[in-house]
C-alpha cells in the first residue's frame, strides 16, 4: 500500500486554507457557528478557530442543523 505524502494528503487542505479569506466570506452568515480569525482575506492566510457543535465531522447520515432544541427554537428566525 502506498503511504501518504504531504502533497497528496495536503493539497485540498492547502487550497482550502490558502483560500481562507474567500471561504470566510462565503461562510460569514454561519455567524457564531463559524468565525474566521483576524487575518483572513490575506493571501495564504486565514484559519478558522470556532465552529462549536461540530466536534467531529458531520456524517452524511447525520443531519444536524443549528444547535440545541429545534422545537424550542422554532419561530425564532422566521
Amino acid at each position: 500500500m502506498r503511504q501518504p505524502t504531504s502533497e497528496q494528503a495536503g493539497s485540498i487542505t492547502e487550497r482550502l486554507l490558502a483560500n481562507g479569506g474567500g471561504l470566510g466570506r462565503l461562510c460569514e452568515p454561519l455567524g457564531t457557528r463559524y468565525s474566521p480569525k483576524p487575518g483572513d482575506g490575506e493571501p495564504g492566510g486565514g484559519s478558522f478557530s470556532k465552529y462549536p457543535g461540530w466536534d467531529e465531522m458531520p456524517h452524511p447520515w447525520s443531519q444536524r442543523a443549528g444547535s440545541g432544541d429545534a422545537y424550542a427554537e422554532r419561530g425564532a428566525s422566521r
Partner: protein, 373 residues
Amino acid sequence: MADPTATLAAVPSTVVIQPTSLCNIACTYCYLPHKSERRLLSDEVLASVVGTVRDWAEAGRAVEILWHSGEPLTTGPARFRELLGAPWPTGTVHRIQTNATLVNDAWCDLFEEFRPQIGVSIDGPAALNSHRVTAAGQPAHDRIEAGIAVLRRRGIPFDVLSVAYVPEPAEAATLYEYAYEVGARSLGVLPVETIGVFGGGSTAAREQWARYFEALFLAWRANPMVDLRELNQVAGYVAQIGRGDSPALRLEELLARPVDPFPTVQYDGEVTVISPDLSGFVHPELGAFTVGNVLQTPLDRLLASAAGVPWVRQTLEGVSACRATCEYAAGCGGAWPSNKWFENNDLRSTTTHFCQALHQAPFEGAIYASAHL
C-alpha cells in the same frame, strides 16, 4: 504520518434502527431490499438496543437514534409511541427520516410529545421530484407536500434530504429555493448513487458536481436561511484543521481517527456497521453484511468484535487505502464501503463515482463559490 491501519471506534455517534422494512412508496432509485414486506422490529430487539444505549449513557457517552431504512411511519403512531417511549436514557436525541406521506395530526401529537428531529425526503418541486413515485408509478409529490403542510401547520421543525439526479447548477438553485419556501431547517443533498438494488447512479465527473455545489452554496449565500449540510461539512473540516498547533499535524490526527461504527439494527436484530445501505445484502465469499444479532449478543459486544469479521476487516483495509492515497480522505474519512461494494465489487477499493460527487465535489464547489465573493 497517520497510522495506516484504520480501526473502529468502540462507541458510535448514532445507532440506526429499522422499525419496519416496509415503505409505502417506490422511489425509482431506492436501494432497499424487502421494502414491500411489512416486517416489524420486535420488543426483544428494542429492549436489547435500549439496554446498550443506557450502558453507554451511564458511561457518559450519548448516542443518537436514527429511525430509518424503510418508511418508519408505516409502523403507525401507536407502535411508534412504544418505540420512542421505551426507557431510553434521559436526553436521547431521536431522529426520524420519513417521506412524510403519512404525516397527520396524530403523528404531530407524537412528535410534540417526544420531540424527535424530523427529516423529510423530497427532491425539490414536482419537476425535480419525479423519481419519488407510488407503487403504481404515480407521482408521490402531492402526498409528500401534504405531509409537509401538516408539519408546517403544527409548527414541527423539519430538515430536508434530497437526491439530486443530474449535476445541473440551475437545479441546485431551484432546490435551495424550494427548501426555503417549504420552511426546511436544513437541506442535505445526495447525488443519486449506485447502491443496493439500484444500479443507475450518477457517473458524472467530479467537476460537474463541484459546479452543482458551487451553485447551491451561492444560492445559500444570497439567502442564508436554510442550513446546508454539505457546506457545513466543508466549514467543519476547515475549522477542524484550524485547531491544534499546525494544519499538518491536525491533518495527521484526522487521518488517524477511528471509524464511526454507525451500526444499523435491522427489524430482526441483525447488525450491520459503517454503511447502513449494506443491510440485507450478502457478499458472495464473505457472507452476509452483518456482525451478529442483538438477540444473541449485546450491541456493544458486537461492535467490540466487529473488526474481526472478514467483510469488516476488508472494509477497514479499504478505509486505510483511502487515507493513504486520497487528498480528500481527512475530510470524508474514507469509510463508505457500500459505494465501494456496489460500484467496484471490492470493499478494499478506494475511489467511487459517489465519493467524487458527495465527498470531494463540495470541497471544490466551496472554493469555486468563494471566488465569487
